[in-house]
């Protein structure tokens, strides 16, 4: 029994890497600098915990700035799509607008529906907020910029991001509003469904790389743009798009923004929230958006690895952020262009198209792995050629269909 506890519940899962950088930091940097009298009694474990807590504090303080920027970016991007200028009054070119909005939200009344479930109502925004930030812990932003290198990194991310739906349902249920309930149930159905193609498309990568660790997934893409997983095989190319579309559905953005479809169910699960709690939902939404883009970049687009082998072009932290913001921009672009799907169409897309294609992908990746034992110039060349031919033919077919599509002429 004692063995069981000392080894942990899950022996094979290593939540804390043996070479923890915080422990190293305490041992190599802090202890030598301490006065000898203290250093002798200083426990490395305590030091590690303190260092980790400080890091977490910095993290929680810094990451909310990200949504601050993203909200402004979204508004500016939307404005440009719509021939407007966006916010222009607060600060130069309106750059402080979100800050002002945040301040306004803090000072707003914090309304709790009297008939609602108070505890769940208060808890829900924190659940969503905490989960969407916990995801950042496993994302490698750069070579050594990684909070914790689990050996089950991607699994952890999937698990944590699934908990968000709990928060959404809590919010919808506890608001005692029918619109909220409708929105949260839509959200539950949607997130649970889209988790499957998302997970299956991640599985193709795990099969290819042979590891769940985010660090290793990135490390396997170190040979420049053509060793990025998206180009490794035709199946990962498909998987990327399934991943990206499912991710949009996961973070509830247009065309999959049914849980908060403004024109249908008012504001969905956060209809009854006001003030800072509403802001938490908002921050969480944008943090989520950044997180799924970052995961997409890590898994498919080389993470912090550069475009050219051996050079740091589009590599490191700046490269990673640029690539991530590229995906974020793509999401914004879609949002301001596309209308919204209906619930049944959303489910159709997931269950009738994405999941079968994902299974096909897994099969294909397995066969690909059997044919090409390891990645070499040949396998990548063939893969890129197939992708190229497929794209060209898809373009031709789509073009022909569009040309054949008759423009309905009245009378």
């Amino acid at each position: 029994m004692s063995d069981f506890f000392s080894d942990g519940f899950f022996k094979n899962i290593n939540l804390q890497d043996s070479s923890n950088w915080a422990t190293d930091f305490v041992q190599d940097v802090i202890i030598p600098r301490l006065p000898e009298a203290v250093a002798g009694h200083f426990s490395v474990e305590l030091g590690t915990v303190i260092v980790m807590l400080v890091c977490a504090g910095i993290f929680v303080a810094v990451v909310p700035l990200l949504p601050l920027v993203l909200v402004l970016a979204e508004r500016k991007v939307a404005a440009r799509f719509q021939n407007r200028t966006g916010p222009m009054r607060v600060g130069p070119w309106g750059t402080l607008q979100t800050l002002a909005d945040g301040l306004k939200l803090i000072f707003k009344e914090d309304f709790i529906p009297p008939q609602g479930d108070k505890v769940l109502f208060l808890l829900a925004p924190y659940v969503i907020f905490a989960c969407s930030f916990a995801v950042f812990a496993a994302i490698p932003f750069g070579q050594d910029i990684l909070v914790s290198d689990f050996n089950i990194g991607i699994f952890y991310i999937m698990a944590i991001s699934s908990v968000i739906v709990m928060g959404v349902i809590m919010a919808g249920w506890s608001s005692n509003s029918k619109w909220s309930l409708l929105g949260s149930l839509r959200s539950a159905a949607q997130i649970v469904s889209y988790e499957i193609p998302l997970g299956l498309s991640i599985l193709t990568i795990v099969m290819l790389v042979g590891s769940l660790s985010m660090r290793e997934i990135v490390a396997s893409q170190d040979g420049g743009i053509f060793t990025w997983i998206i180009f490794r095989s035709p199946f990962t190319f498909i998987a990327f798009f399934i991943f990206f579309i499912s991710a949009i559905a996961e973070v509830n953005r247009t065309p999959f923004d049914l849980p908060e479809a403004e024109s249908e169910i008012v504001a969905g699960f956060h209809t009854e929230y006001s003030g800072m709690r509403f802001a938490l939902f908002f921050i969480a939404e944008y943090a989520n958006m950044f997180a799924v883009s970052a995961i997409g970049v890590t898994l498919f687009l080389g993470g912090w690895q550069g475009v050219l082998p051996g050079y740091d072009f589009l590599g490191g932290l700046p490269g990673f952020v640029i690539k991530t913001l590229g995906l974020v921009f793509l999401m914004m672009w879609l949002r301001w262009t596309l209308p919204r799907l209906r619930v049944d169409q959303l489910m159709n897309l997931c269950w009738k198209y994405f999941i079968p294609i994902s299974f096909f992908n897994i099969l294909g990746t397995g066969i690909w792995g059997l044919i090409f034992k390891e990645d070499d110039v040949w396998s990548i060349g063939i893969s890129c050629a197939i992708i190229y031919i497929a794209l060209i033919s898809a373009y031709a077919i789509a073009g022909r269909n569009l040309a054949r599509r008759p423009e309905p002429q009245p009378s």
Partner: protein, 401 residues
């Protein structure tokens, strides 16, 4: 209906039963186009029944009218369909003029110049109204951007209206016997030429934009998925419910008052009446939401055509107001209908020979079209309700009067 449901449930004994949820959609709701309240009885996402409750914007138009003289009623018609107020003014004035028996044989006919100005302004207003409908429909379906594009273009039209009557929304421009002279547009003056040039500039800008909007929204596959085949209103049903205008033509009935019962000078212009058709290749069913929407998009082109013909001819010289001493119709009654952007706008006026009417009834196209909602929405989903409301294009000011 009740009995058939009961027998069904007897046959399928293991039918899972879920509680119905009664939800109030509106009167404050982002996409009920005003203060419409729908009592939805939902089974999950499926709408068992959607019962419209109206009257939140009832401003006693008919009661007020009985205590006002005829010219004083015109501003009230502005407030009916505030999106196409010019057409409402015109509809009322046409009815009163008919009751006054104004025509060429009498010495107080509506002057030629006024007729041209009326058609010009009302067709521009029709474009503005359809633009709003297009924009809000996009927003109902979830695309936000077309809404702002539509408002950008509508803004230019509102500026044009402002130049002839000083108002942006409630114009009170078309008067009994002519049009308002508050801001004079002298025949042959530079001001007139500039104004017409400005309209021409707008048309040149706007005509390609319609195709752009068709590319952006009409042919968008998500948009077509959402609207095609949804809430099909067959022709008989549309006629029976009194759906008119684009809603009727969306059901494939070839009927346009401007062509079939020409009033004013519409018989002088050459324009087509857009009719929806079954398009199996695309998936569009005759009478669905998409058809009604598409008819509006095509109608904008026809309005552009009419305005271009007026610009090519130029406005005739002469006064803009008939020589009318007092508006005092003879004893009698009239029902006159005209083609407003939302359909057949009728005014029923009973006169007893005094300067005030005994009875004025506005027959609003939206009122009739909205009554079909309950039947159209049965068994569809919540999202479809929004699509239907947008596609029948209601303005609550007109429904409630």
């Amino acid at each position: 209906m009740e009995s058939t449901q009961q027998t069904e449930s007897k046959i399928i004994e293991l039918k899972p039963f879920t509680d119905e949820m009664v939800v109030n959609m509106g009167p404050q709701h982002p996409s009920t186009h005003g203060v419409l309240r729908l009592e939805l009885r939902l089974d999950g996402e499926i709408v068992r029944e959607a019962i419209p409750h109206i009257g939140y914007l009832h401003r006693c138009f008919e009661k007020h009218s009985e205590n006002l003289s005829y010219p004083q009623i015109i501003p009230f018609t502005d407030r009916m369909d505030y999106v196409a107020a010019m057409n409402q003014n015109w509809g009322f004035c046409l009815a009163v003029e008919k009751l006054l028996e104004m025509d060429e044989t009498k010495d107080f006919a509506v002057p030629e110049r006024a007729e041209y100005l009326r058609v010009l302004i009302c067709e521009l207003n029709r474009i503005a109204s359809h633009l709003l409908s297009f924009g809000t429909y996009g927003m109902d379906i979830g695309a936000f951007t077309p809404f702002l594009y539509a408002f950008r273009d509508r803004e230019r039209l509102l500026l044009l209206f402002e130049k002839v009557c000083g108002a942006r929304l409630t114009y009170n421009y078309i008067r009994i016997g002519g049009v308002s002279e508050i801001i004079p547009l002298e025949p042959g003056s530079i001001a007139e030429q500039n104004y017409l040039d400005e309209i021409e500039g707008f048309l040149d800008y706007f005509e390609p934009k319609i195709d752009e909007y068709n590319d952006l929204l009409t042919s968008n596959s998500i948009f077509s998925e959402r609207t095609m085949g949804v809430a099909v209103m067959p022709a008989e049903m549309a006629i029976s419910y009194g759906a008119t205008g684009p809603n009727l033509r969306g059901s494939g009935v070839d009927w346009d008052l401007r062509r079939d019962e020409p009033y004013s000078i519409y018989d002088r212009f050459d324009f087509d009446v857009p009719i929806a058709k079954d398009i199996p290749e695309l998936g569009a069913v005759l009478g669905d939401c998409w058809s009604r929407y598409k008819v509006r998009m095509d109608e904008m082109k026809e309005s552009v055509k009419i305005v271009r013909q007026i610009l090519a001819e130029g406005l005739p010289d002469g006064p803009v107001m008939a020589d009318l001493k007092a508006v005092r119709p003879p004893k009698g009654e009239i029902y006159f209908r005209s083609e407003a952007p939302r359909g057949e706008l009728g005014f029923y006026i009973v006169s007893d020979g005094t300067p005030k009417p005994v009875r004025v009834k506005g027959r609003s196209p939206c009122f009739s079209a909205l009554s079909a909602l309950q039947e159209l929405s049965r068994g569809l989903m919540v999202a479809d309700i929004i699509a239907i409301i947008g596609s029948i294009d209601i303005v609550m000011g007109e429904v409630d009067r």
